[in-house]
């Protein structure tokens, strides 16, 4: 038994390293294809459907020869990463941690899911899907989003996301981007009184929002509103700009989904030009869903600790499914220079998922 476990841990680690070594930056088609080839080679005996939307490839493996589109469970992992330094694509192990770009987000968890699918799929009585995508870091629209659009469904989806740290993440904030444009009147700066400065008009426009939604000092479930960009086309130093645009990132809980945008719009001046980009909707899977209850009890049993449910502040591909969770191993440094995943927790992660999938067998 111990030998088998050690063997599996090494296999996960080895596959994770292989995946990390590919600089599969989101939406880079060449490396997306290359990394999916590794998965195909690993799961050579299993039927799969290739998808591609706007040139972005993704795969759907199934454990049934008839390749169904409706699954009891879907395991979902993304193999794209945000850009890293060249060193980050050389994975290494130190003090029980695997370091590298994507170690935590989410190549190690993906390796665990791939090998688990390989070990279990023939032992399960129900349809299991394994979705591997390459565009989660740029919104997942052409990967998970596209597969869903093509009719792929699941009773329940488990997305191998970072920041879960073995906590079942059943809620995620929704996200919108509000583009605000205001106009002023250009004038030569020597005659400043002849102009209306659009940059100042922009700050006046945003001020009520900044005051109503100040930057939180500590982690919060409340709505956050962040100005991520302000720009004007004016480049002449002696001209008062007549146009200014700002981008506002808005993240909100499910319960605020309907009210947040009208509220923000009511705080903006009537003559501002507004463009709203709906990105992810807010997401919430009921805490008492039997699968959630089951996974939590397995976390307690295998990891040895009772971990509370979690709300994700970032968005992920989990939001493409009606009932889903984000769930991944312990680690840190997603999107940072020292990204790592804890190797022991990776093994626990594998075992929790394994026991969960087996428990659904009739």
């Amino acid at each position: 038994m111990d030998i088998t476990l050690q063997h599996m841990k090494d296999k996960i680690l080895s596959l994770a390293k292989e995946l990390i070594a590919i600089p599969s930056v989101s939406e880079d088609t060449k490396y997306a294809v290359e990394i999916l080839e590794i998965v195909k080679r690993e799961l050579i005996a299993y039927p799969f459907t290739p998808f591609a939307s706007e040139g972005i490839p993704s795969l759907l493996f199934t454990n049934k020869e008839d390749q169904p589109k409706n699954f009891k469970i879907i395991l979902n992992a993304h193999l794209d990463v945000i850009p890293g330094t060249p060193e980050q694509y050389k994975p290494f192990v130190k003090d029980g941690k695997l370091y590298g770009r994507g170690a935590f987000d989410t190549k190690a968890a993906a390796a665990a899911m791939i090998l688990l699918f390989k070990e279990l799929s023939q032992k399960l009585s129900y349809p299991l899907g394994l979705q591997l995508t390459t565009d989660e870091e740029s919104n997942g629209k052409y990967g998970t989003g596209y597969q869903r659009q093509q009719g792929v469904t699941a009773d329940f989806a488990i997305c191998a996301e970072c920041n879960s740290n073995l906590r079942v993440t059943n809620e995620a904030k929704g996200r919108r981007i509000i583009k605000v444009s205001v106009k002023g009147h250009a004038a030569h700066s020597a005659y400043a009184w002849n102009g209306t400065n659009a940059i100042l008009a922009m700050y006046t426009a945003l001020d009520p929002i900044i005051k109503a939604y100040p930057s939180p000092k500590i982690e919060t479930h409340l709505t956050t509103v962040n100005i991520t960009k302000i720009e004007t086309a004016n480049e002449a130093i002696n001209i008062i700009p007549d146009h200014c645009t700002a981008y506002v990132d808005v993240r909100f809980e499910k319960k605020d989904e309907e009210t947040i945008i009208p509220r923000l719009l009511s705080l903006l001046p009537k003559d501002a030009e507004i463009e709203i980009t709906p990105l992810h909707p807010a997401h919430a899977t009921p805490a008492d869903h039997p699968y959630i209850v089951k996974i939590q009890s397995l976390v307690k049993e295998i990891h040895g600790e009772d971990l509370p449910l979690r709300l994700a502040h970032g968005t992920s591909d989990a939001t493409y499914f009606p009932l889903s969770i984000e769930f991944g191993p312990i680690g840190d440094g997603a999107h940072h220079d020292d990204e790592w995943v804890d190797i022991n927790s990776l093994e626990e992660y594998y075992n929790i998922l394994k026991q969960f999938l087996l428990s659904l067998n009739k």
Partner: protein
């Protein structure tokens, strides 16, 4: 005289000496050279921009008592604007007011009386004022051209004696914060908000007046961040400020701006131009005032001007100077004109002013 100045002005307007058209600028300098043949002159060139200093001395010199300054370049205009038109006592055309009529008057006046004067009179002709005359008057002064008093026949004056101009400081504010994923903004400090705070503090202290007034103004020309992604709280932001201090504020303005910056915001001075303040008691200014009042039979106006001009370069070199040009309007616009009768007065005032100096 009047007819000569008018005709010569028309001749100058007809040369489309757009500040960006070096060939036309050279051509207009050659045209003036024909008019001034026989006078000593020193040619200058800096970064391909030519300019000339004429003097009434037997051989060229850089040391003058009085300098007349004229720029012969104009801002871009339509084809029609380079065809001068007389209408209702006004001469229309690109550069009529800014400042070819004044240039024509100054050049012909120099030609008429320079040799009668017992002191050194200089006439500076440049072709880069519209892009700030670093290579023209700026270069000449850096090469040692000097004077006790300078008169620029600039537009905006309209027979007022302009003795004060605001300075200019271009300042770049740089805010640094802490980058964070927008989903975890509690880990970050938004640099755009710091820049906002800085701008807010500065504008509280230096609000933009609603109507023209002689005070220091601060204008925000640009705000930007290097951040390109919408899900990142930016850790950097910049703002460009155009600061125009009145002479009383010029010494302390940068220090005051510095004091108004919140933590995490630093400033860098990109460009500084001094202000101009020639005292009303200056003997040459007083002489001009008296002459002006004698000829127009009206009290002279001594006033500040809001826009900058090349006269600032004299201030930089500790030379007292003023702007003094004929009556007109519409500079940089489609309807630029100069008053023809006023042009004659202008000529006479300057002539008697020069003759009054011993």
């Amino acid at each position: 005289m009047q007819q000569n100045v008018l005709e010569f002005t028309k001749k100058l307007i007809a040369i489309p000496s757009d500040v960006n058209d070096r060939e036309a600028c050279l051509q207009i300098l050659e045209t003036t050279q024909k008019e001034l043949s026989g006078f000593s002159f020193t040619p200058f060139a800096s970064n391909g921009v030519p300019s000339v200093l004429y003097t009434n001395t037997p051989s060229p010199t850089k040391k003058c008592k009085i300098i007349f300054y004229a720029h012969l370049d104009v801002v871009p205009g339509s084809k029609e604007q380079f065809i001068p038109v007389e209408k209702n006592g006004k001469l229309y055309g690109r550069g009529a007011y800014d400042m070819k009529a004044a240039s024509a008057a100054i050049i012909l006046l120099f030609k008429e009386i320079a040799h009668q004067l017992p002191y050194t009179l200089g006439l500076q002709l440049t072709t880069d004022e519209e892009v700030v005359g670093f290579n023209g008057v700026g270069y000449q002064l850096a090469q040692g051209v000097t004077a006790e008093f300078a008169i620029a026949g600039e537009c905006g004056s309209s027979l007022r004696i302009v003795n004060q101009l605001r300075g200019l400081n271009v300042v770049k504010l740089q805010a640094s914060g802490v980058e964070a994923h927008a989903g975890h903004s509690w880990h970050g400090e938004n640099a755009l908000l710091k820049i906002y705070e800085a701008i807010h503090n500065i504008l509280q202290e230096y609000p933009t007046p609603a109507t023209p007034s002689w005070q220091t103004t601060v204008s925000v020309a640009n705000v930007a961040t290097e951040n390109q992604t919408h899900n990142i709280v930016p850790d950097n932001a910049t703002a460009l400020l155009d600061i125009r201090p009145i002479p009383e504020d010029k010494e302390r303005i940068l220090e005051k701006i510095q004091q108004l910056l919140p933590e995490g915001v630093t400033m860098e001075v990109i460009k500084t131009m001094p202000s101009l303040h020639t005292k009303e008691t200056n003997e040459y200014l007083q002489k001009l005032k008296t002459t002006l009042e004698d000829i127009t039979k009206q009290p002279a106006t001594i006033a500040p001007s809001y826009a900058g001009s090349d006269i600032i370069f004299f201030s930089m070199n500790n030379i007292n100077g003023i702007e003094f040009g004929p009556v007109g309007g519409g500079h940089h616009s489609k309807e630029e004109w100069v008053d023809i009768k006023g042009l004659q007065e202008y000529y006479q005032i300057l002539k008697h002013f020069l003759l009054s100096i011993k």
